[in-house]
């Protein structure tokens, strides 16, 4: 089985978000970038499937050269090879086009990715890739198993879950509790250095959206403290002052 895992490069979850003074760009100064946590769930599950069933795991990233440390990390965790599409990922459709092109070229059985990136929170790329390839997407998935050419997927729905059986090839997006992310070991880090990382040029420049401006939400005006012994007063305040009950 050939698995393609799409990863994006995002600010670490503890990052304090700031923008350049003109509000046009995210301020990357001093920011640590990581593999998007949702993508990491997809990556770990892909590696588990490979270990159980055989096959290969290829990681794909649409990004500029500064994403390579995290691509190497994915290789250290256990992916076999990697593709970097040399393009700044500014638009979901633009990214989906790249993934669909290289996914088709590699004839993968399973295309995995996280449900969304924690920076732009589009939750769009999965469906776009499925549509471009003419195959189903199952999102967001919390469990994934493969038996021969059939995948069994549990999809989270609002208020429950569904079990879906579908024939490969498929696009599946991951969220918890799909897998427990792994920390690369020393052997993994050593072998990752020599695993193939192919840099390819983008196909098309067909963006459908463009970001004009970023802004932080207004700061909270301050917290009103209620003494613990009068805790019941809180409920009255929520009804009469905040008017939310």
């Amino acid at each position: 089985m050939k698995i393609l895992v799409c990863i994006s490069n995002v600010p670490d979850t503890t990052t304090k978000i700031t923008f350049t003074p003109d509000g046009k760009a995210f301020n990357t100064a001093g920011v640590q970038f990581v593999i998007n946590p949702y993508d990491e769930y997809a990556l770990t599950r892909a590696i588990e499937l490979k270990e159980a069933l055989g096959g290969t795991v290829t990681v794909l990233n649409v990004g500029e050269a500064d994403t390579e440390p995290n691509i190497r990390k994915a290789l250290a965790i256990g992916a076999d090879d990697a593709i970097r599409v040399n393009l700044k990922p500014t638009d979901a459709f633009l990214v989906a086009q790249q993934i669909a092109h290289y996914a088709k070229e590699g004839a993968y059985d399973l295309i995995l990715m996280g449900r969304e990136s924690i920076d732009y929170n589009g939750f769009q790329v999965h469906g776009m890739v499925g549509e471009l390839l003419g195959i189903p997407t199952i999102a967001p998935a919390i469990k994934l198993d493969v038996n021969g050419t059939t995948a069994t997927v549990e999809r989270e729905i609002e208020g429950g879950k569904e079990v879906i059986e579908a024939a490969l090839p498929l696009v599946v997006t991951a969220q918890q509790p799909m897998s427990e992310p792994r920390i690369p070991n020393m052997r993994g880090i050593m072998t990752a250095r020599t695993k193939p990382l192919k840099v390819v040029e983008p196909v098309g420049q067909d963006a459908k959206t463009s970001v004009q401006h970023y802004e932080l939400p207004p700061a909270k005006s301050g917290v009103k403290m209620i003494p613990a012994e009068n805790a019941g007063d809180l409920i009255k305040l929520l009804r009469n002052e905040a008017k939310v009950l």
């Binding site: 959206t209 009103k224 409920i235």
Partner: protein, 324 residues
């Protein structure tokens, strides 16, 4: 040409998030000098849909093919694409739900449309270009995004906008069919597991959430009883889901569920930046923590310093005393 609104239903009723989408779509339609048409799929009767007139919808197309009672992305997209074609719609509005994201992303490719998800405000319309504000960086910021294609799809964030209601107005309901074949249902679910009786976390107006300050699952009844007294949904922090006190689908935060209720009550949650990301678009935040230095107090509107096991019973008592 009309604005097309995609309506999701649950238990025979239109979801609140879809009322928000309908209200949004009607306002966009008014700005464009046209009308709003809704398309509803699934297990719902015409009576429940005619009420969408109150949100400014003039017509509802209903496809009640029983195979559509479960969500099947390919089939749903086919129905909506056909409705968009019939209505000559260049703007499609849906809810930023799991279903909305699955439909919107495929539909955007099929129609060659620009797609914006997680949208929190009405568009600024400048000729054929829309600029919309959407939540980014997991609720820590906003971005203004230009949608440049002729066709636009907008997925509206839950609870971000008020539902406009004009009492007494009704929409006409027409039956609609997209002539689906069995192949469109290839990924139909084999089994659906519902959590019965619970209030949907993502739809809830009030959420009571617990963290490690509860000390153990044996104290979870405090969260449940407070939620039940307030008509709220329950949630938890990531550490609580990770240790298995509560299931992962209740975990709110950056890598869990994002909620934006009117009221979020956090009990025994310190307020790590990852947790705040999932809740900071809530309108009012209450924090109860025994540590006065807990970072969550900085993001809160109301706070109580105290032990959950002592504070929460007082809240339950006061909540029960409220007249409904």
């Amino acid at each position: 040409m009309s604005v097309l609104v995609v309506i999701e239903c649950a238990n025979g009723e239109v979801k609140k998030s879809s009322l928000e989408a309908a209200s949004y779509g009607s306002k966009v339609a008014a700005a464009l000098g046209t009308t709003a048409t809704a398309v509803a799929i699934g297990d719902v009767q015409a009576d429940a849909l005619s009420g969408l007139g109150a949100q400014g919808v003039t017509k509802v197309l209903l496809d009640n093919d029983s195979r559509l009672h479960n969500f099947v992305p390919g089939a749903y997209v086919k129905v909506i694409a056909k409705a968009a074609e019939q209505e000559n719609s260049t703007v499609i509005v849906l809810s930023n739900s799991n279903i909305g994201a699955a439909i919107g992303s495929r539909l955007a490719v099929r129609l060659g449309a620009s797609l914006a998800t997680n949208v929190v405000a009405l568009p600024q319309i400048n000729g054929s270009t829309f600029t919309v504000r959407r939540g980014v960086f997991s609720g820590k910021a906003f971005s203004d995004v230009e949608l440049t294609s002729d066709k636009k799809i907008i997925a509206v964030k839950k609870n971000a906008l008020e539902v406009e209601t004009t009492a007494g107005a009704t929409a006409t309901v027409e039956n609609f069919s997209a002539d689906l074949s069995d192949a469109d249902f290839a990924t139909a679910p084999k089994e659906t597991v519902k959590q019965s009786g619970d209030i949907l976390l993502t739809e809830a107006e009030v959420v009571v959430s617990g963290g490690r300050g509860l000390k153990g699952p044996e104290n979870w009844h405090l969260i449940e009883n407070l939620a039940s007294a307030l008509g709220a949904a329950t949630a938890c922090s990531k550490p609580v889901a990770d240790v298995g006190w509560r299931p992962h689908h209740e975990h709110v935060g950056q890598t869990g569920i994002t909620v934006s209720p009117n009221l979020y009550i956090a009990v025994g949650i310190s307020g790590a930046i990852q947790h705040l990301a999932g809740v900071n678009s809530s309108k009012v935040i209450v924090v109860i923590n025994k540590d006065p230095e807990a970072p969550f107090f900085k993001a809160a509107d109301y706070g109580i310093v105290g032990d959950a096991t002592e504070v929460v019973p007082k809240l339950i008592e006061a909540a029960k005393a409220l007249d409904k």
